[in-house]
Amino acid sequence: MSAMTCDEARKRILELPAGEAPEDLASHLEQCADCARAYESQRALDGLLRAVGTPPVEADLWPAIRSQLRPRRLTWPWVLAPVAGVAAGIGLALLFASPTVAPTSGPAPLAAVAMAAPAEHGADDLDEDAQIIAWHARAAAGTGLFDPSSMAITLISLTQGGSELN
């Protein structure tokens, strides 16, 4: 490998990121006093700039930012998963049931799907929502009748709800 020239060394010094050791320059700097001075001068400039740092922010922007932070909502996949499960249950029930839904001795498909929802997702913040859905499902299983309007209202309220900011 040929020795580094002064031009190459000066270019390398100028490109050297602040705080990085110039290992490839070491032998050249040992032999060239001018480049060694240029290197020291560069280090001094780096130190001066770092010491000055970023200027202080004159305005307090936080109040305006804080007022625009929207409360976190339940993310759609988490909300839609139990809804999709319930919808699938209803679809299966309609597919296999007679035109009039008859009381059954075991849990209805809807109940099975809805009651399984919390365990499947394991999300703490969904526990309450899942319990409400399960309540509807148990009611449907117990009576043999399903109240779609009540269920729809519950689902809509769940999807529109969200946790508040701290």
Partner: protein
């Protein structure tokens, strides 16, 4: 991982779950760097304030998309710069090559809580350095602000500015050559002291 990085990741995680106090701490940590970056390209202070506000509000909205919590430092600066570019396009007030008013630079450089006895020298030094940086062409000013004043590594600077690493290094080299000429006397004093 340093304690500082671990704390930052914890703050990002909490903010993602809706903790506005954690997000406030992230704001406190990064507003200086974000503000300096945008200020390096814009003279209109109202617009700088607007861009910085929009950046943090958008960061809050999109925090769920940030895959690496440790990357917040680079991500918030990227976000701010992209918003700035969009706003410039919208408002058609590109000022990237304009110099700051000297008076404004002086005001920015004043240390709000100077140490007794050393106050004048420190504030004058800072003013001179920031004045010299403000006199650089816009692209060089951005690189110097990010790398030297804000302490961002050169690879991350390339990410923020969305340019190759080689471009960052060449801008850095040109900026340093200019700053050496402008601040040579000051550095010699520092080296001798």
């Amino acid at each position: 991982m340093s304690d500082r990085d671990a704390l930052e990741e914890d703050l990002v995680s909490r903010a993602r779950k809706g903790d506005a106090d954690a997000f406030r701490q992230l704001y406190d940590r990064h507003v200086g760097g974000v503000y300096a970056l945008i200020r390096a390209s814009l003279r209109d202070r109202d617009m700088v304030d607007d861009v910085v506000q929009m950046a943090f509000v958008r960061a809050w909205d999109r925090l769920g998309k940030l895959r690496d919590d440790a990357a917040f430092r680079v991500w918030i600066r990227q976000l701010a710069r992209r918003i700035m570019v969009d706003e410039i396009r919208k408002r058609r007030v590109r000022e990237a090559d304009s110099l700051e008013e000297n008076e404004e630079i002086g005001n920015v450089a004043v240390d709000p809580a100077p140490a007794p006895g050393d106050a004048l020298g420190r504030s004058e030094t800072a003013a001179r350095v920031r004045d010299a940086v403000a006199g650089l062409p816009a692209h060089q000013r951005e690189v110097v602000t990010l790398h030297h004043l804000d302490g961002i590594e050169v690879k991350a600077v390339a990410e923020v500015l969305d340019v190759p690493l080689g471009t960052v290094l060449s801008r850095l080299a040109r900026a340093r050559a200019t700053l050496q000429r402008k601040l040579g006397g000051m550095m010699n004093e520092g080296m001798e002291g």
